[in-house]
């Protein structure tokens, strides 16, 4: 009941409502722009959340995530260019529908499917997260340390074919987290006498650099965007599906819901995997599989439902364990940490108003996505048709101005640019960036609990093996790394031989 009260309070609070409106609108617009992923759209807003009340800040970020998942489908359907990775599966049938003059129908299916998916995901989020909070009682400092190590191990190991690079990125992130004044002894570490470094390097700066600046660097090197890729006129008026159509498509939506739920809760799964899996399964279970690829309604609604379920269920591991499974949830975690809130088993007991308020805010965001989605199409199309150089300049302008608003320091901008170079180099050499962010975000938690545990035991490291939860979590981490290493060794020993394609 207490949860419902907090949720209702959030739904009826004007600042939260405004955050949801702003977040969803920004998310849809950002998602609609090819090259702006949900995580970049969120990262660009992160500096602005600094001075907001905690609940408003996290609802704003979560609403961006919700909106961006729908926004990505707009250019996917209209100009065959997915705005986000998870909208890639929507291109197949969405664009085909557009070519047949049914673009408005495809957009309607995407919007309604996304809303249903988002609400379904929210039900799962609110029912799954709370039971996990009961784990709070068994978590001691060694267990928290082990939880952090497990988180980095999972995310590092998920980097397909790049286990070592993933782990290196995680270690580098933790190294950055050690810069600044030591929280226990007050000694300066790696500050080189620079007072700007005394408080450490804020993770917002690294996130902005690694996500936004690195993306701008990549895009600057890519082929020039053809100016004003124009969708066919007359087909871009949104047409919402009737209830009978939705009932007919219930199987595809069900598949999207189930696979989105499973993929969202698995770290690293993400919306794109869920969308493609749902598309495939929807085709397999469809009564009209031959229509897939030729403008099938099921081919649009299944992936769109799935990626919006993911936008809610991906928050489950973030809220319950403090371990984000994707770039977007890592930024959401950053939004919590900025306000001194540590997501994890204790959050439900220490700040229930934030958790349930977030659920309420997400409910509002999903309803608003539906309402705003019906009217925002024209501005989206206008924005997508803007020349890429202008968009890039505007994003860069937003980055350099937003960074300054955090601490009113130009030094921070220098850090963002350096982080951008690091992110760019990492991408070029195949290093995953999420473990770096995770190491940075979890670094403080890992170190403080590591040292607290050793303070209690007078430096006896055996405490990490004597504590049952810690032992279990560390064993899981070792197992995950071991299995990934084994897979990688097998891959090196038996490289996949690609058969030469037959000449046409």
């Amino acid at each position: 009941m207490e949860g419902l009260y907090y949720g209702w309070q959030a739904v009826t609070s004007m600042p939260v409502l405004l955050a949801a409106i702003g977040g969803v609108t920004w998310g849809i617009l950002g998602g609609a722009l090819p090259g702006i992923s949900p995580s970049i759209a969120m990262a660009l807003l992160l500096p602005f959340t600094y001075n907001l009340p905690p609940l408003v800040a996290v609802v704003l970020l979560a609403a961006v995530y919700v909106g961006a998942e729908y926004g990505g489908s707009i250019p996917a359907i209209l100009i065959r260019t997915p705005g986000t990775n998870s909208a890639a599966a929507t291109v197949i049938d969405g664009y085909e529908m557009q070519r047949q003059g049914r673009g408005g129908e495809a957009l309607g299916l995407s919007l309604v499917g996304g809303t249903i998916g988002g609400l379904f995901g929210l039900i799962l989020l609110s029912t799954l997260t709370e039971p996990l909070s009961s784990l709070a009682l068994v978590f001691t400092p060694p267990a928290y340390f082990a939880l952090g190590i497990l988180g980095i191990s999972i995310i590092g190991s998920l980097s397909e074919g790049a286990l070592l690079k993933g782990l290196i990125a995680g270690v580098l992130g933790m190294m950055i987290a050690t810069v600044g004044t030591d929280p226990i002894s007050g000694v300066s570490r790696f500050t080189f006498g620079n007072p700007n470094l005394l408080e450490g390097i804020h993770f917002i700066l690294i996130m902005l650099g690694v996500f936004a600046v690195a993306e701008l660097m990549v895009q600057a090197g890519e082929e020039r965007w053809t100016e004003g890729t124009k969708p066919v006129e007359g087909n871009t008026r949104l047409r919402l599906p009737s209830l009978s159509t939705l009932w007919r498509l219930r199987r595809a939506q069900g598949i999207g819901c189930v696979l989105g739920a499973v993929e969202g809760a698995i770290p690293g799964g993400g919306g794109s995997v869920a969308a493609f899996l749902s598309y495939n399964e929807a085709r397999r279970w469809s009564k009209e599989p031959e229509k897939f690829g030729k403008g099938s309604e099921e081919g649009v609604i299944a992936p769109e439902t799935a990626n919006n379920v993911v936008s809610a269920t991906a928050i489950v591991p973030t809220l319950s364990f403090g371990i984000p499974g994707s770039n977007s949830t890592a930024i959401l975690l950053g939004g919590f940490l900025i306000h001194g809130l540590q997501p994890g088993p204790l959050l439900f007991t220490t700040n229930p108003e934030i958790v349930y308020g977030l659920f309420g805010g997400l409910f509002t965001a999903n309803i608003l996505m539906f309402l705003i989605g019906t009217v925002i199409l024209t501005p989206c199309i206008w924005l997508v048709r803007r020349p890429k150089p202008y968009l890039m300049a505007a994003i860069f302008g937003l980055v350099v101005s937003g960074v300054y608003s955090i601490d009113h320091s130009l030094f921070d901008l220098g850090v963002v640019l350096i982080a951008g170079v690091v992110g760019f180099v990492m991408r070029k050499f195949g290093f995953p960036t999420l473990p770096l962010i995770l190491g940075l975000v979890l670094g403080y938690m890992i170190e403080s609990n590591y040292r607290r545990a050793l303070l209690i035991t007078n430096g006896d490291h055996m405490v990490f093996l004597q504590d049952g939860v810690s032992l279990g979590l560390l064993a899981c981490a070792a197992l995950i790394i071991g299995l990934s290493a084994w897979r990688e060794i097998r891959r090196i020993r038996n490289p996949v031989k690609l058969e030469e394609a037959p000449a046409h």
Partner: protein
């Protein structure tokens, strides 16, 4: 492949430098059994081991992958130019950083908008100039007037005052 090898070596060197840096952290009696240098040293060791592993893995893969996969010089040059274009964006950002205190936010952000647009393929037309002017006014109003962020004013107040 060779790139991975170089990165692995650089990371190995960095791990040694980081360890030395951690070793130079002053000792404090408040630190407890594990000092402020405890975790940094552990991380330096972990990075050393992992980068050595990356070097070994790359060498192993270089042996298994045939020389046929070698990239042509032209493609390499193309790749290099793409990298350099990316770094050009950071150079523009660095120029903004150097100029903003002197020229002030509004003028520098206009220059940044114009430079980034031109750098990314927009011709220097009146439209581009208009974009920079309108963009800088928009950013000024948003950040300085609405959000009340005290962005650098540059020499303008001295000139006017």
């Amino acid at each position: 492949m060779r790139g991975n090898l170089i990165v692995g070596l650089l990371l190995l060197i960095f791990s040694v430098v980081f360890w030395l840096g951690a070793d130079a952290i002053p000792k404090s009696r408040l630190s407890g059994s594990v000092g402020a240098d405890g975790l940094p040293k552990m991380l330096a060791i972990a990075l050393g081991v992992l980068s050595a592993g990356l070097i070994a893995q790359t060498l192993l893969m270089m042996r298994t992958v045939s020389a046929a996969a070698s990239v042509s010089r032209e493609k390499k040059r193309e790749e290099l130019s793409l990298y350099l274009r990316g770094f050009g964006m950071v150079a523009i950002g660095a120029a903004y950083l150097a100029l903003v205190s002197y020229l002030g936010y509004m003028l520098t952000i206009a220059l940044l908008l114009l430079t980034v647009a031109i750098y990314n393929g927009k011709r220097p037309t009146v439209g581009a100039l208009l974009f920079a002017v309108v963009g800088s006014v928009f950013f000024y109003l948003l950040f300085v007037q609405v959000l009340e962020v005290p962005l650098p004013a540059g020499f303008w107040p001295r000139l006017i005052g």
